[in-house]
Symmetry: C2
Subunit: 199 residues, 2 copies
Amino acid sequence: MLYTSEALEAVIEHLSRLPTIGRKTAQRIALWLLKQPREDAVALAGALVDMKDKISYCSVCQNITESDPCAICSSTRRDQSIVCVVEEPGDVLAIEKTNDFSGLYHVLGGVINPLEGIGPEELKVKELLARTGAGTLKEVILALNPSVEGEMTTLYLAKMLRPLGISVTRIASGVPIGSALEFVDEATIARALEGRIVV
Amino acid sequence: MLYTSEALEAVIEHLSRLPTIGRKTAQRIALWLLKQPREDAVALAGALVDMKDKISYCSVCQNITESDPCAICSSTRRDQSIVCVVEEPGDVLAIEKTNDFSGLYHVLGGVINPLEGIGPEELKVKELLARTGAGTLKEVILALNPSVEGEMTTLYLAKMLRPLGISVTRIASGVPIGSALEFVDEATIARALEGRIVV
């Protein structure tokens, strides 16, 4: 046995399964935790279980939430006529950070990916279409990642939503703020040219 | 509130306190854990608390252990006459991985660092000197990191151990295997020259 303790080995094993954490980092974190007060490890452990127990999915927007419907869906200060469609809960956080969007969200749970066997049925597409029934929805903003699968899903959703008389838009792709043209790939520049706007 | 869940926020907060994990990585890990089965989070949480409960310090070598004395100190197949002095438990793991050392260890718990108020009393120096009393100890290998503080501690320990009639050695500093001279700093090359050996 490499480690002098099975309990330590177990923590390293579990930590190294987490995304972005390799075995060396897992060992470093485990040894660091050993030096901290017991309460710190207990608090982290408690928070993990607590999170799994308290968080479920909003029945309206499919985002993670502690109450159903979620705080955003049940807010009276948000514009009920606009829904922004994203892939994952992390994307909602990213858009909320801008403080620039006051509508509602819809979390698809991924994108269409035929190679991995993910079609519209595996995503929350049915739930999105159901939200158009109430008649309050005027615009759907598609904010999927600009990957091949994201593009495919954007086109698919646009095709499904347009016949329902809803305005369908997508977020702009182009040169990121703070970047320089010479460092941006051709596909992005081509898209930025295509999406040029009058100033 | 930025996050739609306080339980999620709590996990991100706890994770981002761990070494090498920033807030973005913490968020990514937390959202990933949300997608995993509940058992996985419970198992990680359990392993953390278990580790804190089971692991203590070996009364002989001061390394982390589940039993006292530790597996290395109580092994009959290890050479009791050589002790390798290291800074932290992680260093024991690093040396054990080489399968090249069959002696015992002594974990100092750090190095002398006057700027941070760490003197010999804050380290396990007294415990190291006590181990020389039994008369079985013939050689002490100092394997501290080649930092300014590590050098200072090496010199200090050598000064304390030499009068006790024990052979005191230190691990070699030099060009790392696989590296190239042109990429190695001057201090390392100077040390490699100084420590040259007959071939």
